[in-house]
C-alpha cells in the first residue's frame, strides 16, 4: 500500500503542477487556434521537466537540500536575492491564477459568479495547508485529479481522424491567418506552462519533507517518469479535443467552459462532471503547491524553519508567508482582473525565468561534494545542457515576442 501511494507525490505534482490552470488554458487555446501543430512544444516541455525534476528530486534525496537552498548556496546572497525576487513574483502570479482557476471551475458547476468563490477558495487552500498532512493532501488531490482522464477518453470517443491529427503534430506549420511570431509566442507559453518553476520547488521540498534518502532514488524516478508524462498526455488530450472541435470551425477558446466542451460533446453529463472535478482538483492542487512554494522559496533563501512536518508554531514565518500570499492572491483575484490573462502572463513570464531555477539544480547535480556517486550521467548532462541552451534562448525571446505579438492577440 505504501508503495502504491509512494508515487502520489509525482501524481500530485503532475495533476496540480503539470496540469494546472496554465496548461488547461494554454493547451485548449492553442488547440483551437493551431490544431495539433504545437504539440511538439508540449512534448519538449515534458522531456525538460522530466530531466530537471528528476535532478531536483535526486539532489533533495542525496544532499537533503531543496531547490532554493541550492540556489542560495550556489549563487550566493546577491544573485540568489535577484532569483528569489523573480521566482517569488512569478509564483505569486501563478497562485493568483490558480485560486481564480478554482473559482472558475466551481462556477462551471454552480453558475454562481466566480468572484464570489475566490475568497472561499483561498480560505480552503489555507485550511488544507494549515491542517492536512502532506501525504493525505497529495493522495486526495492527486487521485481526484485523475478524473481528467475523461478528457483523453473524450478524444477517443470523438472518433477523430487520427492520421489527420498525427499529421498536424508531426508536420508542424503555421496555420494560415496566424503570424509566425504568434505561433512561437504560443510555443513558449506551452513550454513555460509545462516547466513552471514552482513544480520543482514543490517537488524537491516535498522530497525533503518526506525524508527521502538515497534509498528513495528509485521512487524519485518512478514519480517523475510516471507523473509528468501522464500530465503531458492529459495536456495533449485537452489540445486534441480543441483541435477536433474548435480548430476546423475557427472558434477561439478563451473561457474554461469552452475547455470542457469537447468532453461534454463526447461523453455527455458524466464527462462534464468528471472534467469539472478534474479541473477543481488540478487547480486546487496547484493553488496548494504555489502557496506552499511562496513559503518554500522565501524560507529556504533566509534559512527559516519551513514545512508541514512540524507544528505551525515551529515554522511561524513560513506559515505567515503562506497566509499572506493567499490573502494577497484573494485580494488581487476579487478585483475582477481577467484570470485567463493573469494565467497567460504567469506562464509566459515563467518561461522567461526558467534558467534561474534550472541552472543551479544542474550545477549541484554535477557536484560530487553534494552528490557523491549520484552525480549526473553523461547522457543526462548532454540532454540537460541542450535544454539549458534552449531555456536561455526562450528566456531571451520571450519578452520581445510578447511585445511584438501584443501577448499573442
Amino acid at each position: 500500500m505504501k508503495k502504491i501511494f509512494g508515487v502520489t507525490l509525482g501524481i500530485l505534482t503532475a495533476m496540480g503542477g503539470f496540469v494546472d490552470i496554465g496548461d488547461i488554458v494554454a493547451n485548449s487555446a492553442t488547440g483551437a487556434r493551431f490544431g495539433m501543430s504545437l504539440a511538439w512544444a508540449v512534448i519538449l516541455g515534458v522531456v525538460g521537466i522530466v530531466v530537471f525534476a528528476e535532478m531536483a528530486g535526486r539532489v533533495a534525496s542525496v544532499s537533503k537540500r531543496a531547490v532554493f537552498d541550492v540556489v542560495r548556496e550556489r549563487l550566493g546572497a546577491r544573485v540568489g536575492m535577484v532569483n528569489l525576487a523573480a521566482s517569488f513574483f512569478i509564483t505569486m502570479l501563478t497562485l493568483i491564477a490558480e485560486v481564480a482557476g478554482v473559482a472558475l471551475s466551481v462556477q462551471l458547476l454552480t453558475d454562481v459568479n466566480y468572484l464570489l468563490w475566490i475568497p472561499l477558495a483561498g480560505m480552503l487552500v489555507w485550511l488544507v495547508i494549515w491542517r492536512v498532512k502532506f501525504t493525505s493532501m497529495e493522495t486526495v488531490f492527486g487521485l481526484m485529479g485523475l478524473a481528467l482522464i475523461a478528457v483523453t477518453v473524450a478524444v477517443v470517443q470523438l472518433h477523430p481522424s487520427w492520421s489527420g491529427l498525427f499529421h498536424q503534430a508531426s508536420h508542424p506549420s503555421v496555420p494560415s491567418g496566424e503570424g509566425t511570431p504568434t505561433y512561437f509566442y504560443y510555443a513558449i507559453a506551452l513550454f513555460g506552462a509545462a516547466m513552471t518553476p514552482y513544480e520543482v520547488f514543490f517537488f524537491s521540498s516535498g522530497a525533503v519533507e518526506e525524508k527521502w534518502t538515497r534509498a528513495d532514488l528509485g521512487l524519485n524516478r518512478a514519480n517523475v517518469f510516471l507523473g509528468f508524462p501522464l500530465g503531458g498526455l492529459l495536456s495533449l488530450s485537452l489540445m486534441a479535443g480543441s483541435a477536433i472541435v474548435f480548430f476546423p470551425r475557427s472558434v477561439g477558446v478563451d473561457t474554461l467552459s469552452q475547455a470542457a466542451l469537447p468532453t461534454t460533446l463526447a461523453i455527455g453529463k458524466v464527462g462534464l462532471a468528471a472534467v469539472i472535478l478534474g479541473f477543481v482538483a488540478c487547480t486546487f492542487g496547484a493553488a496548494l503547491e504555489t502557496a506552499l512554494s511562496c513559503g518554500y522559496t522565501l524560507s529556504q533563501y533566509f534559512g527559516w524553519q519551513w514545512g508541514k512536518l512540524v507544528a505551525p508554531r515551529e515554522a511561524a514565518r513560513f506559515h505567515l508567508t503562506v497566509l499572506c500570499s493567499i490573502v494577497m492572491a484573494v485580494l488581487v483575484g476579487v478585483t475582477a482582473i481577467d484570470p485567463i490573462k493573469v494565467t497567460e502572463y504567469s506562464i509566459v513570464l515563467s518561461a522567461a525565468a526558467l534558467p534561474l531555477t534550472y541552472f543551479p539544480i544542474f550545477v549541484v547535480a554535477n557536484d560530487r561534494t553534494y552528490m557523491g556517486d549520484d552525480v549526473n550521467g553523461g547522457f543526462q548532462n548532454m540532454l540537460a545542457s541542450a535544454f539549458l541552451i534552449l531555456l536561455v534562448v526562450v528566456a531571451l525571446a520571450t519578452i520581445p515576442l510578447m511585445i511584438a505579438t501584443k501577448a499573442g492577440s
Binding site: 544532499s63 537533503k64 537540500r65 537552498d69 542560495r72 548556496e73 550566493g76 546572497a77 546577491r78 540568489g80 536575492m81 494549515w130 491542517r131 492536512v132 498532512k133 502532506f134 493525505s136 524560507s299 533563501y301 533566509f302 534559512g303 527559516w304 524553519q305 519551513w306 508541514k308 512536518l309 512540524v310 507544528a311 505551525p312 508554531r313 515551529e314 511561524a316 514565518r317 506559515h319 505567515l320 497566509l323
Partner: protein
C-alpha cells in the same frame, strides 16, 4: 570578512550561505556572514563568529537592496533592542551537511522575527500547536 587568500575561499565555499540547524533539529537561519580574526604573526585566519540575520545579509548584498535591508533591520533593531545574530564558533558542533550548533535557536538574536511571527500571529490561530493530521 577580511580577505585572506585560500583560507577565505575555503570559508566562503564551505560555510557562507549554508543552513544553520539548532540542537533540536530546527532550522535557524543561514550563515550570512563570518567574523574572521587574523592572528598576529604568521598564523592562519580563524573564523570566530558566524553572523546570521537580516543585518548581516544586508552587508553581503550591498547596493540599494542592501541599504534598504539595512534600514529595515535598523528599525526592527530599534524596536527590539536587537543586535546582529552572532553565533560564537564554540557552539558549532559540525559543518558537514548543515552548520549544526549546540544551542536552541531561541537563544539567537536573529531568531526574534521568528518569535514575533509565532507570538503575535501564528499562536493566535487555532491549531497552531498541533502537527497536521
Amino acid at each position: 570578512m577580511s580577505p585572506s587568500g585560500t583560507r577565505r575561499l575555503w570559508a566562503a565555499l564551505d560555510l557562507l550561505d549554508h543552513q544553520i540547524v539548532d540542537c533540536d533539529g530546527r532550522l535557524a537561519g543561514k550563515v550570512d556572514d563570518l567574523e574572521i580574526e587574523i592572528p598576529e604573526g604568521d598564523g592562519l585566519p580563524v573564523v570566530t563568529e558566524i553572523l546570521s540575520g537580516l543585518g548581516a545579509l544586508a552587508g553581503q548584498i550591498g547596493g540599494e537592496a542592501g541599504t534598504w535591508l539595512t534600514s529595515i533591520e535598523a528599525r526592527i533593531a530599534q524596536r527590539h533592542d536587537q543586535t546582529m545574530g552572532r553565533i560564537p564558533w564554540s557552539v558549532v558542533v559540525s559543518v558537514v551537511e548543515h552548520v549544526e550548533m549546540s544551542i536552541a535557536r531561541d537563544e539567537l538574536d536573529s531568531n526574534r522575527a521568528e518569535a514575533w511571527a509565532r507570538d503575535v500571529v501564528i499562536d493566535k490561530i487555532p491549531g497552531a500547536r498541533h502537527e497536521a493530521e
